[in-house]
């Protein structure tokens, strides 16, 4: 799960990491009031779940409250990489002397949290990583030992020579490491970590991604989820305990298992079609899930045919068939459906579906080709 910069900064502030004061606004008037309270030049920063906000014009400097109001008017409602800006963070503008990058990611190869720091921070960090990887220093932390003070100091010395700044940074890194564990993050990032004219080290941006698997014990974090920033069909899927990603094609896919769902989409593309979504109904046999899944798929006006591919293991084909039948009875679907139900209880499934006269196929390749035919894209 992603959280916004203003939420991540609050978590940083709670942990004692220095961040500039600021508040979030949803209207230009609110932005004006916050800027007036700060009573110094401010930054107006769009709050959307996407990188490259600055380059897209979603982060701007305002000399005073009136300017902040004008900027907020233009930024609120702005489209950044397909997402509409609904909130801006109004925060003190710092006098920046230098910009560094610090981050912690979960590294799957070493199975450790890995620190990455670079004195070449700022908006072009991806380019730094690609072109001059030697400018990024990495440190894998033993999760059983945690981050030792000397390690934090070593990392801090990669960024600064001034002992006061090194101490301040080492302290920030220790706290950042605590935040990583405390909120079950899969990524925490400060880009940039700056030094200002007062020689202070300050986190002027903040990014935290949370491990979805840990949300059951991170109630406060889970409550930070911004439903405005997500695709409505993806929200409905999550509430129905389905794994769903909306795509741009016109063949709706319903599959059990994430790997098989991806492979099914790949085959749709291979045979000349275009998948409308990724949808994994999971290992459960609950017919209600099938109904919810079909509702979500058919709510996309682009969908012209539906492909149901089930390889029964734990999932029982007869349960899925019952769900398909119930959905057909309930939803009055006009979109053609083709099914392939193989594995556990496939004969019972065929019996249940026989009265609905749905086209069915017995292999993955055939069912995909049929779905493309039905969408009117076939040769």
């Amino acid at each position: 799960m992603k959280i916004h910069e203003y939420q991540a900064k609050q978590l940083f502030a709670d942990a004692g990491i220095p961040v500039p004061p600021g508040e979030v606004a949803t209207t230009p008037v609110e932005a004006y009031e916050i800027a007036e309270k700060i009573n110094r030049p401010v930054m107006v920063k769009s709050q959307v779940h996407v990188g490259g906000r600055g380059k897209a014009g979603g982060v701007k400097y305002a000399e005073n409250a009136e300017a902040a109001k004008v900027l907020a008017t233009s930024i609120l409602g702005m489209d950044i990489k397909g997402l509409t800006v609904k909130k801006v963070l109004v925060t003190t503008a710092e006098d920046i002397i230098s910009e560094a990058y610090v981050g912690i990611i979960l590294d799957r190869v070493t199975k450790n949290p890995v620190f990455m720091v670079s004195s070449a921070g700022g908006i072009d960090i991806e380019e730094v990583a690609a072109k001059t990887p030697e400018k990024i220093f990495k440190l894998a932390v033993d999760p059983e030992l945690g981050l030792r003070s000397f390690q934090a100091r070593n990392l801090a010395y990669k960024l600064y020579r001034d002992i006061n700044q090194v101490r301040a940074t080492a302290d920030i890194l220790m706290k950042l490491y605590d935040v990583f564990w405390k909120v079950d993050a899969s990524l925490v990032e400060i880009n940039p970590l700056i030094t200002n004219t007062a020689s202070e080290v300050v986190a002027i941006d903040a990014k935290i991604n949370i491990d979805d698997n840990a949300l059951f014990r991170q109630k406060n974090i889970a409550a930070m989820r911004d439903l405005d920033a997500e695709e409505p069909s993806e929200i409905a899927a999550r509430e129905g305990d389905l794994s769903f990603v909306k795509l741009d094609g016109n063949i709706g896919c319903m599959v059990n298992g994430a790997g098989l769902a991806m492979a099914t989409m790949d085959l749709v593309k291979r045979y000349g079609g275009d998948p409308a979504n990724f949808l994994d109904i999971g290992g459960s046999s609950n017919p209600q899930k099938v109904i919810t899944a079909l509702k979500i798929i058919t709510s996309d006006p682009n969908v012209r045919s539906i492909l149901i591919n089930i390889f029964g293991g734990i999932t029982r084909c007869d349960d899925v068939a019952t769900g398909i039948g119930a959905a057909l009875d309930e939803l009055n679907l006009q979109i053609p459906i083709v099914v392939r139900l193989t594995g556990t209880n496939e004969e019972e499934a065929a019996k249940i579906l026989s009265s609905y006269k749905l086209p069915s196929e017995d292999t993955l390749d055939k069912v995909v080709k049929k779905a493309i035919d039905l969408a009117g894209l076939g040769k």
Binding site: D184, N213, G257, G259, L260, A263, D266, F278, G313, L364
Partner: protein, 313 residues
């Protein structure tokens, strides 16, 4: 022969009285697995499908001399179940549970290693050594005894691949699903190494997906250490970047972890990558035939060479 599990496996089912645990305990027993016991705190002394239930792993292992355990407990308790199994002396722990926090996995992994144990999973379908032993949730009906070793990050996609092999008459030695999470106990390389050393395995199918760099790392390993023919399949060629495709680990981030990169890396070391699961047996058969021809050609050349040397003498 087979890898990781066989006729000598003595299995404990952790969470045996739950919905999934009880169902699969029975399925595993029916397949021929030696299920010696189960554990659910508070249910000690009872039985599930004729299998004795214990309150703790310590009691279960003491009473049964089990060497393997399989975990079906809910995600909030799964990591503790791994610690408990290892602490009780279990050498192979298979964690089926989906939704285990990655940070917990980072901490338990070194503990498992330090105690000389092996963890498979979490969020995996388990494994089958055909006609010997099944641990986990794979349907026993789709496998067929033979010499192909199958290793996969996926669940049902693995079944699809196994089924394609079985229909093509290519049976399997061991089929193993290692799981789709970011931090897993047993990786491709562990399985490739075991298959390479297993006499019953003559060829290998490796099924990967987008996210991470495990397939690239495996490709490097195959080039250096694997002599048996390997065929692969990579799911997620049409997946958009930045979106998690179901599995916690299946995400293209920062431009890395794409299917394209993985296919390139595998092709480079002579591993053909199938365009569809049904192509896997075809490619594997081609590769086996090609290797055999090459081997017999080399053998012929050797004989000819020897003959010419003799003539010269």
């Amino acid at each position: 022969m087979s890898i990781f599990i066989n006729k000598k496996t003595k299995l404990i089912v952790q969470g045996i009285t739950g919905r999934d645990g009880s169902f699969h305990a029975e399925q595993m027993k029916a397949y021929g697995t030696n299920v010696v016991g189960g554990v659910t705190p508070g249910k000690g002394g009872s039985k599930v499908a004729g299998i004795p239930v214990f309150n703790t792993m310590e009691e279960a292992v003491a009473a049964t001399k089990a060497n393997t355990s399989v975990i079906y407990v809910p995600p909030a308790f799964a990591v503790d179940a791994i610690y408990e199994a290892v602490d009780a002396g279990i050498k192979l722990v298979v964690c089926i549970t989906e939704g285990v926090p990655a940070n917990d996995m980072m901490k338990v992994y070194p503990y498992v290693k330090r105690n000389g144990a092996q963890l498979i999973g979490p969020n995996c379908p388990g494994l089958i050594s055909v006609d010997q032993c099944k641990v986990g949730i794979m349907p026993g009906t789709i496998v067929k005894k033979g010499s192909v070793g199958v290793v996969s990050r996926s669940g049902t996609l693995t079944y699809e691949a196994i089924w394609a092999l079985t229909l093509a008459g290519m049976g399997q030695s061991t089929c193993i699903g290692i799981g789709g999470d970011q931090v897993i106990g047993t990786n491709f390389i562990d399985c490739l190494e075991a298959f390479e050393n297993d006499r019953a395995t003559k060829s290998i199918v490796m099924i990967g997906e987008i996210g991470g760099s495990d397939e690239e790392v495996a490709a490097t390993y195959i080039k250096k250490h694997v002599t048996k023919p390997v065929v692969s399949f990579i799911a997620g060629q049409t997946a958009p970047p930045g979106k998690r495709m179901g599995h916690a680990g299946a995400i293209i981030s920062g431009g890395s972890g794409t299917a394209e990169d993985k296919i390139k890396a595998l092709n480079k070391v002579g591993v053909p990558v199938a365009g569809s699961p049904t192509e896997i047996p075809v490619l594997l058969n081609d590769l086996i035939v090609k290797r055999k021809e090459k081997a017999s050609n080399t053998a012929k050349k050797k004989i000819e060479k020897k003959a010419t040397i003799r003539k010269k003498k």
